[in-house]
């Protein structure tokens, strides 16, 4: 209700944009395989706005399936075999994750639709840094590679890939890059600004405000030519011959008919051609990298080979030289501690038990005043198992009502009808609240026709 009220309020304040004649899609679903706020989420939400405003689809929803740099979303998306009104954001970082995780699911398992945007990467240092130019930096890096710490985003992502490419180009073994992966753009940027790392690598968008304010010194940008309106030298003009961008794309589920595929391609084509998309690109400082169909498929193959090559030479995903800072020791310490504590507890309790028996005064265990009955436990257990079995098959409403009924009966078996009535009421209202008001659909199952 609140969201509806909000939409209404917005509609009262603003005059709605005139709708186009006949949308190609009644409803289009966009999957962002990341949490809200990241690049794929922004891509999906930008597409949502443009597709609706340009009248290509009547309604567009965005669904976030976060996790493992997009792999979880990808695995789920492949399961949508033949679903013709859904698209997923993807890109270079997903390729990196596929390679580092040796993922069973890859971008070959989905239907490529188009590459949409690219974002250049920036190599920067805080203004207080001794490195004034890329030359200074490269000289220090060649001299003692490990003394240079490179701060950037997640391991196997675009930032680390560029670090490896630069090392390779200046003649240093990429394995000797001391790359410090931070989780999240804010964390990496604060380490760079605070001078915690020797040099930072991040997207142009993340650095834009800092460049404008003069709080960082840019050593180089990964574009082929200097960008208009940005007084920043390229890596290439300074003798490090690299052109690199973090590209983002959309893909469709596997198993589409040629007709469905063309329909989706046409919709994306219309979106890219619209005025609203131009505005979006400038607003987010994305470069237009539209490349559709077969050509995009070939591009993905080439990129995959490049990423595979550089990541294997960076030595990610394989821990072959354990040092203090590698992952070796910590899990052993934790698991060792766990075992030791477990032994300690068992020994302690056995001793306490024997001492008590000697004294023949047993500490009253709170659970044993009255002989234990397993009935409530069995009922709740049955409710939980049924909930798991039914949740996605029969739908959320039925599963939750069953769960509610079993749990309530575990407490008090005298009111089966009252419990059933409340169970249905609670689960139906929760379903409607999430699905209708909050736009977070739960599985409807067999009741999808009624709800």
């Amino acid at each position: 209700m609140l969201f509806r009220a909000c939409v209404l309020f917005a509609a009262l304040v603003v005059i709605a944009a005139p709708a186009a004649a006949q949308p190609a899609f009644e409803h289009l679903r966009l999957v962002a395989p990341a949490a809200p706020g990241g690049g794929w989420d922004q891509t999906a939400r930008a597409m949502q706005q443009v597709l609706q405003r340009a009248g290509i689809a009547r309604t567009v929803s965005v669904e976030n399936i976060p996790g493992a740099a997009g792999l979880i979303g990808l695995a789920r998306f492949i399961g949508e075999q033949g679903n013709s009104d859904t698209l997923m954001a993807s890109g270079l970082i997903m390729l990196g994750a596929i390679v580092t995780q040796r993922s069973a699911v890859t971008l070959h398992d989905v239907t490529p639709i188009a590459r949409l945007t690219g974002e250049y990467e920036i190599l920067a240092v805080p203004v207080s840094s001794p490195f004034r130019t890329l030359d200074d930096f490269v000289r220090a890096f060649r001299e003692r590679p490990e003394s240079i710490s490179w701060g950037g985003g997640s391991a196997g992502g675009s930032d680390q890939i560029l670090a490896g490419l630069i090392a390779d180009k200046v003649g240093v073994d990429p394995r000797r890059v001391n790359y410090i992966a931070f989780s999240g753009g804010g964390e990496a940027l604060s380490a760079i600004l605070g001078g915690q790392v020797s040099v930072g690598i991040n997207g142009l968008a993340e650095f834009a405000a800092q460049i404008e304010a003069g709080t960082v010194r840019v050593l180089g940008i990964s574009s082929a030519e200097r960008l208009p309106g940005l007084e920043v030298p390229t890596l290439r003009e300074q003798g490090v011959d690299i052109e690199f961008e973090n590209w983002r794309s959309v893909v469709a589920p596997p198993g589409l008919t040629p007709v469905d595929r063309r329909r989706l391609e046409a919709a994306v084509d219309a979106m890219v051609g619209s005025e609203a998309w131009r505005e979006t690109l400038t607003r987010f400082r994305w470069i237009d990298r539209y490349l559709a169909g077969e050509a995009f498929g070939r591009f993905v193959d080439a990129e995959e080979a490049r990423v595979q090559d550089i990541l294997s030479r960076l030595g990610t995903g394989a821990d072959d030289a354990p040092t203090v800072s590698s992952a070796g020791h910590y899990p052993l310490i934790v698991l060792g501690g766990l075992v030791l504590c477990a032994i300690g507890v068992v020994v302690g309790r056995v001793r306490a038990g024997t001492r008590n028996q000697e004294r023949e005064t047993r500490i009253p265990d709170p659970g044993s005043r009255i002989p234990a009955t397993w009935r409530p436990i069995a009922l709740i257990g049955a409710g939980l198992v049924l909930d798991l079995l039914l949740a996605e098959r029969a739908g959320f409403v039925i599963a939750s009502a069953v769960l509610f009924w079993f749990v309530a009966r575990a407490f008090d078996p005298r009111h089966p009808l009252r419990d059933a009535a409340f169970g249905v009421a609670v689960s139906t209202s929760a379903f409607l609240l999430f699905g209708r008001v909050l736009d977070l659909p739960l599985p409807a199952g067999v009741l999808s026709g009624w709800l």
């Binding site: 917005a10 706020g37 509610f404």
Partner: protein, 506 residues
């Protein structure tokens, strides 16, 4: 100073327009509702609202987002206290004593101290944000991996305040949490650990799953097992008016201390809300004359952490507005929202769009007042939830818990995990293991490991970095003191007692 005041005054002039007040009210209402629902955080709410607000003018949109953000922090305490189901990590500490208070019929008092504490902390923190944001932000940048590692070590000492009756049981619970924290991709190398080839485990085990499982599901199973076999403890609601004079007296210092702990830690770009809430809980227990009341319904244990999490939430806005650094999921969305309007939050935002920044800050003050007005009368109403018959109450809690776990990632595996954790939680309760150390282990373990390894890697394998950097050294010494001081104190009192006894004998 006068400059800031006049800028703030013009900000208030902008925020006090009728439509902006409407947006603020809508924001805080939405935020409170979202905070109450488990599994939906403020980040997702703002993301859902982005397309709706696109056609608005940015000032109105940000006023609403600010309201959602503060409102969610308020709302989070409600389910923690009444249902033992913390919807967000920031309100885990609140559940420890809050839920006991609710069971004792003092739910209204717990909710009131949470609401007033949040108001006090929110307002004080917003004042700090108004006057010291740029200075604080530059100090925060001096925190590197070494300092964060020392901070997590300090946070680990709070376990000592949560151990319960037996040292080994508490440590076992802690190591259980640490072990669960190993699951998933190692963020420094990208290696998967203990994921057993299950893709959903690559991102690790969500803290919300562990918390809802241990607290809500475990509690439900435990209660069902005991229900009918023990005399039912009838819950009598003490009063609907809120706190007694005694409770006010006990609460005001924790509010202020919670603010003092929460705000600076919120300003740190990797601070989060868990560390400040637990540090506040430990501080209150250590400073209390009657530490044995903690865990049995001590109001200080609710007042301190609730103030701390709201102050931390305000602190997060400091790096966002002054440096353009998003340090929480919600801040990341707000950053995306700024970009949607073609604005780039960063060092220049205060000078390039002062109207926007100061109206937003002014609306935070207004939002805080609105939240207090909205939540105080509701405390008594919410507290009546405890009067719902047990079977229906716990049935509802389990449905809500499963809903929260499922909406997190839309994965059935999360539900399976939730129920397994629930069974473990019930067993831990039966065998008298404390639950909170496990949660702390899961939250802090991965952070500690990552910051340690980052710091050592930056320093090329040299461990001395933790003692040569002053902030890190001070924090580590503080951690030692926290652990050693009570032992020394006990030894001293024991010696004094012996001397007295000896003196009496002679």
């Amino acid at each position: 100073m006068t400059e800031i005041l006049s800028a703030l005054a013009s900000g208030f002039a902008g925020a006090l327009s009728l439509s902006n007040l409407g947006w603020a009210l809508l924001g805080v209402t939405l935020g409170t509702a979202v905070g109450v629902l488990p599994g939906i955080g403020p980040a997702l709410t703002v993301a859902l609202l982005l397309p709706v607000t696109f056609t608005l003018d940015p000032i109105s949109a940000f006023i609403m987002f600010g309201g959602i953000y503060y409102g969610a922090m308020y709302g989070g305490s409600t389910t923690s206290i009444l249902l033992n189901t913390p919807g967000e990590t920031g309100s885990i500490a609140t559940a420890i004593d809050g839920y006991v208070m609710a069971r004792q019929g003092r739910g209204a008092a717990a909710l009131t101290t949470a609401a007033v504490g949040s108001f006090v902390a929110g307002t004080l923190a917003t004042i700090a944000l108004t006057f010291f944001a740029p200075v604080l932000a530059s100090v925060a940048l001096r925190f590197g991996p070494a300092e964060y590692f020392a901070l997590t070590i300090l946070a680990f000492t709070t376990v000592s305040a949560l151990l319960g009756t037996s040292l080994t049981s508490g440590l076992l619970s802690l190591f259980l949490g640490l072990a669960l924290g190993l699951v998933g991709i190692d963020p420094l190398t990208g290696d998967a650990r203990f994921a057993f080839g299950i893709p959903q485990l690559l991102d690790g085990i969500d803290v919300v799953i562990l918390v809802i499982g241990l607290f809500a599901v475990g509690e439900t199973i435990y209660q069902a097992w005991h229900y009918g076999r023990e005399p039912i403890e009838a819950i009598e609601l003490h009063d609907f008016t809120g706190m007694s004079r005694e409770e006010w007296r006990r609460s005001w210092k924790p509010w202020l201390r919670g603010t003092a702990i929460g705000f600076p830690l919120g300003v740190l770009p990797c601070g989060g809300t868990v560390i400040p809430t637990f540090l506040s809980y430990m501080t209150e227990k250590r400073l209390s004359d009657t530490p044995e009341r903690f865990g049995h319904g001590a109001i200080e244990g609710v007042a301190g952490p609730e103030a701390a999490n709201n102050a931390a939430a305000a602190g997060v806005l400091v790096p966002l507005l002054t440096l353009g650094l998003p340090s929480s999921a919600t801040a990341a969305i707000m950053l995306a929202a700024f970009q949607q309007y073609g604005l780039q939050p960063g060092p220049l935002l205060f000078s390039s769009r002062p109207d926007l920044v100061w109206t937003l800050i002014a609306s935070l003050y207004i939002g805080n007042v609105m939240l207090l007005v909205l939540n105080l009368p509701l405390a008594g109403v919410w507290a009546r939830v405890m009067l719902v018959p047990r079977p229906l109450l716990f049935g509802g809690i389990l449905v809500l818990a499963s809903l929260g776990a499922y909406t997190l990632n839309r994965s059935l595996l999360d539900l399976v995990l939730l129920y397994v954790v629930g069974a473990v939680g019930c067993a831990m309760r039966v065998y008298d293991f404390p639950l909170v150390p496990a949660v702390l282990g899961l939250v802090l373990g991965p952070l500690t490991e990552q910051h340690f390894r980052r710091a050592v890697a930056i320093n090329e394998g040299d461990l001395s970095i933790f003692l040569t950097r002053p902030i890190s050294a001070v924090l580590l010494i503080a951690a030692c003191l926290v652990l050693v001081a009570p032992l020394v104190g006990r030894a001293l009192t024991a010696r004094q007692a012996r001397r007295k006894a000896a003196a009496l004998r002679t």
